[in-house]
């Protein structure tokens, strides 16, 4: 059992409240199911949002954090627009996915988890997203053979984008970026540091209470 579980002792809800974006809203859910019925990829969720909220309260830490569910959120904001309790569901799903990743519990082979991570890394490099590099990495993320298959399947799309000047092969070699990438990186590092310090403090507070 990981250290964090030990520390929280049967209080996954409190762990979520302290560490997950907008986690303090979870307890407000009244289990009406509107969010689950609104998800575009709903049938593919292991546990739709309503169930995730119930599982958090039922202390099912491993099941929630290792679930592929949150990674099927398309950020369509349907749930937010409809939830009678006005929970920021989209943000909680992003927050849970992020937290699961940070804890090393996110499913490793899940395409969206890989893609989301690569997107962030790509943007960190130059401050702007390089669509071509991101695309290439994406097609090859499941290995070379799989990548070649995908590239061939996508070839026509690529050619179309190229012909219409909506893609630049030179981007594979470098491409555009932010001038003050140093400043941007420093600010992001600082933000990360602030966030982690706060999470650690919240954890301490919880422990001293229990």
């Amino acid at each position: 059992m990981s250290q964090a579980v030990e520390k929280y002792r049967n209080t996954f809800l409190r762990e979520v409240e302290a560490n997950v974006e907008e986690g303090q809203w979870v307890k407000m859910c009244m289990q009406c199911g509107v969010c689950s019925g609104s998800c575009p990829l709903g049938p593919h969720w292991e546990h739709p949002p309503q169930e995730i909220f119930m599982m958090i309260r039922a202390n099912k830490r491993e099941e929630v954090l290792t679930s592929s569910s949150m990674w099927f959120c398309t950020s369509c904001y349907n749930c937010i627009a409809r939830c009678p309790r006005e929970l920021p569901i989209t943000h909680i799903m992003h927050g849970l996915a992020h937290y699961a990743q940070r804890q090393g519990l996110a499913p490793k082979e899940l395409p969206t988890a890989k893609f989301a991570k690569r997107f962030w890394d790509n943007l960190l490099k130059k401050g702007r997203v390089n669509e071509l590099q991101l695309g290439l990495q994406l097609y090859f993320m499941n290995g070379l053979a799989e990548g070649i298959k995908t590239s061939l399947k996508m070839q026509k799309v690529g050619l179309g984008m190229l012909k219409t000047k909506r893609m630049d092969p030179m981007e594979a070699l470098g491409g555009h970026g932010c001038k003050d990438i140093k400043g941007l990186k420093a600010a992001l590092n600082k933000a990360k540091q602030i966030e982690e310090t706060k999470a650690a403090k919240a954890l301490e507070r919880l422990q001293s209470k229990s």
Partner: protein, 299 residues
């Protein structure tokens, strides 16, 4: 001096030779016609769209947008910040509102921004270009610029998700926003009535990671457009545009359909109706060419 001036955040997909470059070209054209000046934020960065969360925590992601806002405040004081990309607009507006509502978060964001020599004050309004067109310019004035009405073209107004939720365009409903339909009418075209996939999701960024599942969503969006008798689809969002246009062949193969329907930006429609050239309207940026618009543009 231009009649209306805004601080502008183009975003990654609108850069030269990026996937929504055609949106940028047509936007520039209609802004010229309407005397709107867009002042680009000089050193903007990516907003991390809605997919950066695996690597970036809440505060780092907010700081990304706060940096753009801080640059805009510094470079273009007094001008609203305007974006054309749904994800850019959403991320920036959300960051602006969340930081303004949460003093502690704002202090934290500014502590981080100090590392880049910047400060976020939170004194700007973040707006979508569509809002500028509807609220500042207005349908009436737009109508006055129409030289070549889009007669006999039936158009499905596909609003999608992020231009519509959680903020949406002021005065519009989440379930049935009508601004694209109104715009089509103003431009002389015919909107598809009761287009029931108008606010359905195209899969967004998950088109990359879960292509088959997302393409199933797009199939329904295209089908509903066909059922409504549409000649083409119009959308305000770069992700919607790309997802509804470029995967039609894949979808046809998988489902035995025969989709071949152009999907254009509202800015392209406007540009053509304003009598601008095919190039200015970025019609050469269509992978599925919009023949009916080409015909009007060459008239």
């Amino acid at each position: 001096m231009a009649k209306r001036e805004y601080s502008f955040y183009p975003g990654c997909s609108s850069q030269k030779k990026a996937s929504a470059y055609n949106q940028w070209v047509s936007t520039v054209s209609i802004c010229k016609e309407l005397d709107i000046q867009l002042n680009e934020i000089s050193d903007w960065n990516c907003c991390s769209a809605s997919i950066g969360y695996a690597g970036g925590g809440e505060l780092p992601r907010l700081v990304l947008s706060a940096r753009n806002l801080a640059l805009s405040e510094k470079e273009h004081p007094g001008q609203d910040l305007v974006a054309t990309c749904a994800a850019c607009w959403l991320a920036t507006r959300e960051a602006n509102e969340r930081l303004n509502h949460d003093a502690e978060m704002k202090t934290d964001a500014n502590e981080a921004l100090k590392e880049a020599g910047l400060e976020f004050k939170g004194e700007k309004k973040v707006r979508h270009l569509v809002e500028v067109l509807i609220e500042d310019v207005g349908y009436e004035e737009i109508k006055q610029h129409v030289k070549k009405p889009l007669a006999d073209i039936k158009i499905a107004g596909y609003v999608g998700c992020q231009t519509n939720r959680p903020f949406g365009i002021a005065g519009e409903s989440f379930e049935n926003p009508v601004y694209l339909d109104k715009l089509v009418e103003v431009l002389g075209g015919t909107p598809v009535e009761n287009y029931d996939k108008k606010v359905s999701c195209c899969g967004g960024a998950l088109m990359f990671s879960e292509p088959e599942k997302s393409q199933a969503l797009v199939k329904d969006i295209l089908e509903a457009a066909y059922d409504g008798g549409a000649d083409m689809i119009v959308t305000p969002c770069p992700v919607c545009q790309m997802n509804t246009e470029v995967y039609q062949e894949h979808i046809n193969k998988k489902y035995g359909t025969k989709f071949n329907i152009p999907s254009v930006y509202y800015s392209t429609l406007m540009s053509v109706a304003f009598g601008q050239s095919a190039k200015e309207a970025a019609l050469d940026g269509q992978i599925i060419s919009a023949k009916k618009l080409e015909a009007i543009a060459s008239k």
